[in-house]
Symmetry: C2
DNA sequence: GTCTATATTGTGATAGAC
DNA sequence: GTCTATCACAATATAGAC
């Protein structure tokens, strides 16, 4: 791993070049998709030349992996911790909805990028699971088992009707993630500008927890 | 538009070469993404040579547009007709869930392709709206207004709590589309094989309508 | 570490025979 | 309509000066 020592001699503006490249790469990969992105465009975005990208990340795929790890690492650990925790189900749902929308709203194209990347490189899921903290292979498995216990407990108490934890998880994810994944289409189809989309998200943030919980009333 | 007249002289196996190319292109575009797809791979998949793709579709982008239109045209009109109809809300929800899952299950990677394509080429939404039949610009608008009327009617009658039609639409879409869009990740994370994913879809098909309607009980 | 070439291969597109 | 051959340029990657 090069770029560990920084004397800052001859530094143009800020310090970390490697950081700047990674950031620029994220922008371009998200904008164009991994295979649509061009090393030249990334270099320009970072204000350096193309050779430097290879100096730090060797190949385009190396850079792509680094970007995916960095992007996945933002949210995955927090989500895994939250969903796997012992907090009551109601709290989990509400906190997840708020956490996800509040975080992703600042980078609304990230979910589409993640989904597309996983579509073409499913093996990179491992990076996401690593980022989530727990034992790589079973990070999601642990969350599902925790949810299963909580859902069964509620069902037994008669305060919620039964649902498989996998279905529950996909329901919650779908409701929260889909508006971002489909944003370009939604914005046009529903004739929203950025501000309207923001209000749309505000409303979801407020309504979604109740929607999800009400759907499971007995 | 070439390829209208077919003498079938020298045809290798089936008749329509243009059809074969379009089909092969769909396969490869869905597999690799539009910019990741290579004309050579499409040609091989179709069992023809690369020059022939240009003969029929002139450019790669031309082929990409044709594929998008073809794929969008499968479902969009039926969905638009259903959601814009006068059928009771409960029927709409159930029929939509069934229609979508039953249709897309045969080509499970299509939704991810559509979302990715709209992400990088939002202007192609017009093709989708054209395919939906109604006046291009307001196809979705009409659906939203129909839903609004139905939802307000229910709210006034006290049989459903109020919800904005845009939110309702995105909820339904998210619940139905997300599992397909995220399929590669879900299959790995939830440790499913194709058969397990099929059972997962069966369960959703059966449970989702009630889930959606229960969430809006007053 | 950062730059300017440059090598090398990939890729969309066309020309022209059949 | 379909093919082979090839062009022209785009794009990743490397060499080597500073």
């Amino acid at each position: 791993m090069p770029g560990k020592e920084r004397t800052d001699a001859g530094g143009t503006l800020d310090g970390a070049t490697e950081e700047r490249i990674l950031h620029a790469a994220r922008t371009v990969f998200v904008r164009r998709g991994t295979s649509g992105a061009r090393m030249q465009e990334i270099a320009a975005e970072a204000g350096v030349n193309q050779a430097l990208l290879h100096y730090y990340f060797r190949t385009k795929d190396g850079l792509a992996q680094a970007v995916f790890r960095e992007v996945a690492g933002r949210l995955a650990p927090a989500i895994a911790r939250l969903l796997g925790s012992d907090a009551p189900l109601e709290d989990k749902v509400e906190r997840f909805v708020h956490l996800y929308i509040d975080t992703v709203r600042q980078h609304p194209y990230i979910p589409a990028y993640i989904l597309a990347e996983l579509h073409h490189h499913p093996e990179r899921l491992r990076a996401l699971q690593d980022a989530a903290g727990v034992q790589p292979a079973r990070a999601v498995g642990a969350i599902v088992e925790r949810l299963r216990a909580q859902l069964e407990e509620r069902a037994a108490a008669g305060t919620m009707r039964p649902i498989a934890p996998e279905q529950f998880l996909v329901n919650v994810l779908g409701l929260v993630v889909f508006p971002f994944a489909a944003r370009p289409a939604l914005v046009i189809a529903l004739e929203m500008d950025d501000e309207a989309f923001g209000r749309f998200l505000d409303a979801r943030r407020a309504e979604l927890p109740r929607f999800i919980l009400d759907a499971l009333r007995p």
